[in-house]
């Protein structure tokens, strides 16, 4: 009678390890599948060719003709499929790298969730130098001074043919730009720097928990009617939001910033209090509506 592949493998394992229990044999097989068979299969799997920007544009235009509900469903489906492909490519990329090099590999910022699911924290303790390390080095396997590293994001982008789709948990980090004149003020006025630091911290934290990508730009503006009154403008750029939602976000964001300043005023020293009040008067938040 012909035996199955499983029976053949088990017989082979048992032959070479006569003392092994059924539990040990199955554990060894699971390890073999996890470490060799599955990674090899995944690495060999091919993903469909990415669609061209022209094709994507055509699909988008065609969708405009269908009803809103169907259009939304199609859009979600397309995004999900693109995201799936992106994640799959990423897993493959990680597997290839891990296959080549098992040294420490920090998970990329944008793909923390996937990287975390792949990573198993086997050893994460502070290494105390031991004589073992010494012999390892003396035996001719020294570690080397790290050469200047290449930009990981750049490297990854070459490997990934798909455009990342923004999602709440894989959102790009926000940009916080500071105008040159404001930069000069930061370096010459430590209290201003400290207060602006508080505002930046609150703005960044707000943006981190917000489902939208928010970028910031800080600059000074002089009031036309009162030239001595220098305003600090915190301009916010939010993508993918309609006018009403932007207005709502503006109210909420401004309230969060003001609340933080008010809280600081309560605990500040006299001099700090004056400067914080001044900051509160001269600071204007602004959401780019265009």
């Amino acid at each position: 009678m012909m035996s199955s592949l499983l029976e053949e493998i088990v017989a082979e394992v048992k032959l070479n390890n006569p003392q092994a229990s059924a539990e040990e044999v199955s554990e060894a097989m699971v390890r073999f599948i996890e470490q060799d068979i599955l990674p090899a299969a995944l690495r060999k799997m091919r993903t469909p060719e990415p669609i061209s920007p022209l094709q994507r544009w055509r699909e988008k235009e065609m969708l405009k003709r269908v009803k809103k509900k169907r259009r939304e469903a199609a859009r979600i489906r397309m995004e999900e499929s693109r995201q799936l492909l992106l994640e799959f490519e990423y897993v493959k990329h990680k597997l290839v790298r891990i296959h080549m090099d098992t040294s420490s590999l920090a998970p990329d910022l944008f793909h923390r969730d996937i990287a975390d699911s792949l990573r198993r924290r086997t050893i994460s303790v502070g290494t105390i130098p031991t004589t073992e390390n010494l012999f390892l080095k003396k035996d001719g396997i020294p570690s080397i001074e790290p050469e200047p590293v290449r930009n990981k994001r750049e490297e990854l982008s070459k490997l990934m043919p798909y455009t990342p789709v923004p999602r709440k948990e894989v959102k790009e980090p926000q940009i916080f730009l500071i105008d040159e004149i404001v930069q000069e003020k930061i370096t010459s006025d430590p209290i201003f720097a400290e207060n602006l630091g508080v505002i930046e911290r609150v703005a960044r934290t707000y943006a981190t928990v917000s489902p939208f990508k928010m970028d910031f730009f800080v600059y000074f503006r002089t009031d036309v009617e009162i030239p001595d009154w220098e305003k600090t403008i915190l301009s916010v750029q939010v993508s993918e939001l309609d006018f009403d939602k932007k207005m709502k976000l503006w109210d909420e964001f401004d309230a969060v910033i003001r609340k933080e300043i008010q809280q600081r005023i309560k605990i500040a020293s006299r001099l700090e209090k004056e400067r914080l009040e001044e900051m509160n008067r001269t600071l204007f938040t602004r959401i780019e509506l265009a």
Binding site: S26, I178, I186
Partner: protein, 301 residues
């Protein structure tokens, strides 16, 4: 040697460029190189720019990597960092730059940055108190002196513990220039000692006590004396001590290269779901039972 100054200056320029691009890993590497090049000569102050850039790389690397509910004010802090590195580059345009000016600028930056390294709870609660910092630093360095025999224990983390306390106290309460110097010396001593453990470790896992005692203990004594020394000699104590520690550290690097760092090891593979694992275990057990059954039948026959 004129060439050496130019080489160190190039290393610092590369480090500054990496900093401006938020590439703190390369910034650190170029800073290390500048110190490695500086020890090829005799000019003690040439190690300083690299030492300071390395510190800055660590601060900004930590700020950038900080994740969680609260985001640091990275851009405002970076603006101050850029101002500092520009000043450093300007000072380095002349070979006879003032060592004291370099220390002063570094200290000023540390004082400014500490508020940006703190989390909100700390920032809203702790007040600047340089007198407390001085008291705590003196206490800690005296404690290090008192407990220096611990450094002969191969599993000790005494210097890292002292550094941890000093960093925390400076961050929360600020400090004076001399405190920045003391903190820098302890940091340099810790780096040097890490290599001593490798170089003077015996095959049975213990450390060569005579070597550690003769090499490390005098440095502790020197750092301890820093606070009680006359003001006019403090600068030379700092300069001599830092030079000795950095030189020793870079020389050890030539012998032992990069020390093993704490790292997360990745097991290659794809984890199977529990259900699949269970099914495999069942199939294996069944197959083995069948196998044994066949063998038994054969034996019985």
């Amino acid at each position: 040697m004129e060439e050496l100054f130019q080489v160190v200056r190039s290393d610092i320029e590369a480090s500054v460029k990496a900093f401006k691009e938020n590439d703190f890993e390369n910034m650190n590497i170029f800073a290390n190189r500048s110190m490695a090049n500086a020890i090829l000569g005799e000019d003690k102050k040439l190690i300083l720019p690299g030492f300071f850039m390395k510190e800055l790389a660590a601060v900004f690397g930590t700020l950038e990597a900080r994740r969680g509910r609260e985001q640091p004010a990275f851009s405002t802090a970076k603006t101050m960092g850029v101002d500092y590195v520009n000043l450093l580059s300007k000072l380095l345009s002349k070979k006879d730059f003032e060592e004291s000016e370099l220390w002063h600028n570094f200290h000023e930056l540390n004082v400014k940055l500490r508020k940006f390294v703190m989390i909100t709870f700390e920032e809203q609660t702790y007040q600047e108190d340089t007198r407390f910092t001085r008291h705590a630093f003196e206490w800690l360095i005296n404690y290090l002196e008192k407990k220096k025999q611990t450094l002969l224990n191969p599993r000790n983390l005494l210097l890292k513990g002292i550094l941890n306390e000093m960093d925390r106290i400076f961050r929360a309460h600020g400090g004076m220039l001399l405190d920045t110097c003391a903190l820098s010396l302890i940091r340099a001593l810790d780096r040097y000692y890490d290599y001593c453990r490798i170089a003077y470790g015996k095959t049975d896992g213990t450390l060569d006590e005579d070597r550690i005692t003769s090499i490390i203990f005098p440095y502790i004594e020197r750092i301890r004396n820093l606070f009680s020394s006359p003001t006019e000699t403090q600068a030379s104590i700092v300069s001599e001590t830092l030079w000795g520690l950095v030189k020793g550290w870079r020389e050890f690097f030539i012998e032992y290269m990069e020390l093993p760092r704490p790292k997360i090891e990745i097991e290659r593979g794809v984890e199977l779901p529990e259900e699949a694992k269970r099914k495999i275990a069942e199939s294996v057990t069944k197959t083995l039972e069948k196998e044994i059954g066949v063998r038994k039948t054969r034996v019985e026959k």
